[in-house]
Amino acid sequence: MLREFELDMPGNLQETLARLPGGTLLAGGTNLLVDLRARREDAERLIWLGNIDGFRDIKIEDGRVIIGGGTTIGDLLRNPAMAEAAPSLVAAARVFGGQMVRNQATVAGNVCSGSPAADTVPPLLSLDAEVHLTCSTGSRTVPLNDFYTGFKTNQRKHDELVTGLSWAAPGPHTANLFYKLARRKGDAITVVGVAVTVTRDGDRCTEARIALGAVGPTVFRAKDAEAMLTGEPLADDLIDSAARKAMEESSPIDDLRASADYRRHCIHVLTRRLLKQAWEDAA
């Protein structure tokens, strides 16, 4: 049994924002209901987001992808445009939970859960995504890169709703990849997640992104490693050094799934592989 709570089911965005102060937002519930049942969470009033019109919509306007605050992982997979508009995110969606969880879990919920193992976050970081926040008095946009302030803490104020996320669809000569390493192929918690973006101009890399999951208190970008690549031809040696740098930038812990040491090792291996692949794909 779930502990008792009040359940608000506002019918639109305005009402939702009005009800927000003091309440806990309930999207797909795949984190929140699990936490309530395990008594890790003691929210007294839940506000369900399922009745907001158009909240799941995905739009692509002028090369910019905008997903709603209610867009689910399943929605990403079912949208044929996403394969090009967010290759790494689609790759993450394919290894995310099972069908039912994918239909319930929202991207915004995944981002807001703040778990370092949240699988959409490395791809979204690698795409330079922005988070759109709205409260009853106004809206603002925060780069996802600045969103997290620590383990499971973020910049969202308690009366704000994430109404969506957006990013620029990768242009030509850009490769965007994600790999999830887990203890099982289907439906498993990530041991190490790596997303990379490489934009190539001839034999130079003009921009690189490396985002790492499950190896620090938040998902984060390995910026020193990125810097090593920008403006350079990505020879194998350089790729290897950057991958090693990414490893050094991480701060994984030991847990039931893997040791910190193994995680570090895998960051190196996976970052190297993905960069190499991305460099080739971006040609």
Partner: protein, 162 residues
Amino acid sequence: MSLEKAITVEINGVARELSAPANETLLDCLRRHGQFEVKSGCEKGDCGACAVQIDGEAVDSCLTLAWMVEGKKVTTLEGLNDADSPHPLIAAFLEHGAVQCGYCTPGIMIAAEAMLRDIPDPTDDDIALALSGNLCRCTGYTKIFTAIKQAAEVLRAGGGDD
């Protein structure tokens, strides 16, 4: 006590009114109202035994609150076993021995049926992806895959509609 509310919902084509408190999961609510084909295996989204469709989309009913289905259509395995036109998945599961203890079966059929509406000619990878949230400890999934492929064939040939 949480407030009880009456939910209007269509279950397997039949309009029903279910009363439920705010904190009741759809899983508990459906079973309390006699839909025993919806199974409970973990109550936290890990096993898929409780899968149902809401307006055609497969979800874990253990991670859904009963109130969320107000005004919606809920389909359980019972709904696929329409007396006039049972879903071809059922015959295929029987023919291929895809059922052992049967506890995972209702959830797997629900997940498979939803996939077949999206992907009429699924590959093994498509099926694997569609079923990765449905644990089965008995069958090793092999006969389930075979049965789903056969049902897909029957559906593509226009079967199961008459």
